[in-house]
């Protein structure tokens, strides 16, 4: 008996032999499909829905709904509500997002090929704008957009049959489309193959998007949408899951060693194409653009705007694995960075264990940026103390400065000058402001040693951040103490940059 079952399972897996007991039409179709390609939409109709209608489980990112575990086509009811709401896009920065289900990206929808999907799109009464939805998993004009144009406080309904399996983007298609998408109106719908997806230990939902704000990167406050930057395709932020820090620190994705992880990775755009990469991992299997012919052993996979991929990998070594858009300035200067934290025993046979996290993680490797938030609030209420500044500065230093000057401020001999017990700083603490604002190149002598290298200007830092970092430095490692205020920095910024050092 046991042997017979084994044969049956093997047969199903190879999709070569039919006739192992009663099977549904779906499994038949799957077996046939696997033998001769999927056949696409022409082979995707498995007949009328069976049984009672099912209400789809929708999840907020990064979670993915459980497998449908069904073997017959069903009628699936999806209820999705559009909400316009102000949410953080970065620390101390907010944005009025337009969302499907209250999150960016929108709720994850999971159905099975052949399902009949009854879609209810609701537009919250508090909305200013009308919205609709275009699901790339729909066969029919507009992908549902024409049937779902919905005024605030109203609901539209349309029904489609999910004929093609795969992972599909959905988005709002109300004019101007780019603005609706740019404000966060996209998400993913998974149409499972009839036999389902192979079981894995973790499934996660990650979606990239580019954002265009009037203020520059990390400029504080509520930031309005900037249409000019959007048309020029010059984003202020490139983000995973709609906010800087949405998948780092306490919110990092989690797995253990020896597990298989499946990521559903989408790209809402509106403009940029993603070079999706996980630092320190190789994708064992990638369904590029959600297609059914997987690619194996992939380092970086392209995710088009309005496209998605299914990537899978097995974890061997513990540590923090960094998800990036490998168009790499986007990762370190615009926010396209997330972390998968893998716990478990070291395996020195596979990797020696000398971790380089500090270099790659940037400031988002910190458990959280709470001290920065505290300092921002205190500054707003006029109650900012030196202690607040030092705490915030410490976090910011770790992210921005420690790669070169080292976490202990010792620098690297001959390359990066020390900040600890620095006679260069003690001689004129305020000149540090100009160095952060304008950079420093050429010869300097610090604690009796000569350095001749180039530090770029830290133009990504705002006045608060510079003041906090420098106050932290002045009050650490035997430096003389003191305080740099936001006003000091603002004043220095208003002055013209010093003439560049003479060539040598």
């Amino acid at each position: 008996m046991k042997r017979l079952m084994l044969v049956c399972v093997t047969a199903a897996a190879l999709a070569a032999v039919a006739g192992c007991g009663p099977r549904s039409a779906g499994v038949d179709a799957a077996l046939a499909a696997a033998a001769a390609g999927t056949g696409g939409s022409a082979k995707g109709d498995f007949g009328p829905p069976q049984g009672e209608p099912i209400h789809a489980v929708l999840t907020s990112p990064p979670m993915v709904p459980p497998p449908t575990n069904r073997h017959q086509p069903a009628k699936v009811i999806v209820e999705l509500t559009v909400v316009e709401k102000e949410m953080p896009i970065s620390e101390g920065v907010t944005y009025t997002f337009w969302t499907f289900g209250g999150t960016v990206p929108g709720s994850f929808i999971r159905v099975r090929q052949g399902d009949t999907v009854e879609f209810h799109l609701r537009n919250d009464p508090s909305s200013k704008m009308p919205h609709n939805i275009d699901l790339h998993g729909v066969t029919g004009p507009g992908g549902g957009a024409a049937s779902s144009f919905t005024a605030p406080g109203h609901e539209s309904q349309f029904t489609f049959k999910a004929l093609n399996q795969g992972i599909y983007v959905y988005h709002c298609a109300t004019a101007p489309v780019g603005m609706h998408v740019g404000n966060g109106m996209y998400g993913l719908i998974l149409v499972e193959p009839p036999e389902g997806l192979p079981k894995v230990d973790h499934e996660y939902y990650v979606m990239q998007g580019d954002f265009y704000t009037v203020g520059k990167y990390r400029e504080k406050g509520l930031q309005p949408f900037d249409m000019e930057k959007a048309i020029d395709e010059k984003p202020t932020y490139v983000l995973f899951n709609g906010a800087e820090g949405s998948l780092t620190g306490d919110k990092a994705l989690a797995a253990k060693t020896g597990e298989t992880v499946r990521l559903f990775v989408g790209n809402g755009g509106p403009n940029l194409v993603s070079s999706f990469h996980v630092i320190g991992e190789i994708f064992d299997r990638v369904q590029q653009e959600g297609g059914t012919h997987p690619q194996e052993n992939v380092q970086t996979t392209l995710i088009p705007a309005g496209g998605a991929a299914i990537v899978e990998f097995h974890t061997e070594v513990p540590g923090s694995y960094v998800l990036v858009d490998h168009s790499i300035f986007r990762a370190f200067n615009k926010g396209a960075l997330a972390i998968l934290k893998v716990d478990g025993p070291e395996d020195k046979a596979i990797y020696s264990g000398k971790e380089v996290d500090a270099v790659y993680l940037g400031d988002r490797a910190e458990p959280n940026l709470k001290p920065v938030t505290t300092a921002t609030r205190a500054a707003a209420s006029g109650a900012l103390t030196i202690e607040d500044q030092v705490e915030a500065g410490k976090v910011l230093f770790t992210g921005t400065c420690s790669v070169c000057h080292q976490a202990n401020g010792q620098g690297l001999p001959g390359v990066f000058p020390p900040l600890a017990r620095s006679d260069f700083i003690a001689a004129d603490p305020k000149r540090t402001i100009g160095i952060l604002l304008h950079g420093l190149s050429g010869k300097v002598t610090v604690n009796g040693k000569e350095y001749d290298s180039v530090m770029p200007p830290m133009t990504q830092l705002n006045d608060d951040e510079i003041a906090n970092i420098l106050t932290f430095v002045l009050n650490s490692w035997g430096n003389p103490g003191g305080r740099i205020t936001t006003e000091d920095v603002a004043k220095a910024r208003a002055e013209p940059a010093p003439a560049p050092a003479p060539a040598h």
Partner: protein, 263 residues
């Protein structure tokens, strides 16, 4: 009622000082030839707008309450459902009272097109057409047509970018060159022909009349592509049925010119 009204005004003195328009003030709009974002022939033709008068500020809660008292068929508990959906005037505390959360000087919202039309009739007026509204709204404080100025567009977009969870401001923003206030930045406004904007009079000219509802198609017939800020208003109006109401949708009325003052 008058004294309660007055008290509220005093409380709002700073905000509303310049805005009291209890006698339904109208401003003269000169009209003329005008390039609408929706050309009348679906291609490029200019639009001719005859001179008319436009209410200086949108109709307020206080004014609409008075209307509902004198026209009880428009109270929310008596209105015929085909003329107003269940959300009609839902923010008011009662069918005949605004309550503490709703101010008399705020623009009335959650009103249907039918109700707006009836109100305007009650003061000898009508709803403006889209072209009339668009012409008046093209102005800024100093120019009749400021639409080519990015600052004009930015003001509109800034309103779109603000979340709508805050109470609406009282009417009485900065006047434009005609003396009309609040055309931008406060509420959407009904227009007479709201449901005729995205449908071509001639299908052969425009192809599929549903075209404009699809992704990207708005750009296909929009005359000036930078005028997407205005297109968003058209999209909003086009999503509505005449009985619909929303929390950000109000109205103002228009009248023909009085004889003898035509310029």
């Amino acid at each position: 009622m008058r004294s309660a009204f007055a008290r509220s005004i005093i409380a709002l003195a700073l905000l509303a000082a310049a805005s009291v328009a209890t006698a339904a003030e109208y401003a003269t709009i000169r009209g003329g030839t005008f390039t609408s974002v929706l050309p009348a022939d679906g291609k490029a033709a200019d639009t001719r707008v005859a001179p008319f008068r436009l209410r200086v500020v949108p109709v307020t809660n206080g004014e609409f309450l008075t209307f509902a008292e004198t026209h009880p068929e428009w109270r929310r508990d008596r209105v015929a459902r085909i003329f107003a959906e269940p959300r009609y005037l839902e923010s008011w505390a009662a069918p005949d009272a605004l309550g503490d959360a709703v101010l008399p000087q705020q623009p009335v919202t959650n009103v249907s097109w039918f109700a707006a039309e009836a109100f305007c009739e009650s003061e000898g007026a009508r709803l403006p057409t889209w072209y009339e509204w668009e012409l008046a709204a093209a102005a800024d404080a100093t120019r009749l047509d400021a639409r080519s100025d990015p600052a004009w567009r930015e003001r509109i977009l800034a309103w779109y970018a603000r979340p709508s969870n805050e109470p609406l401001a009282p009417v009485g923003g900065e006047p434009n060159v005609y003396g009309v206030r609040d055309l931008h930045g406060l509420v959407w406004e009904w227009v007479d022909d709201f449901n005729a904007l995205l449908v071509s009079a001639d299908n052969r000219e425009q192809g599929d009349p549903d075209l404009l509802r699809f992704c990207g198609a708005g750009a296909a017939t929009l005359q000036q592509r930078e005028n997407y800020a205005v297109l968003m208003r058209i999209a909003m109006l086009s999503s509505l049925q005449a009985r619909d109401t929303t929390a950000n949708l109000g109205f103002r009325c228009a009248k023909p010119l009085e004889r003898g003052i035509e310029r």
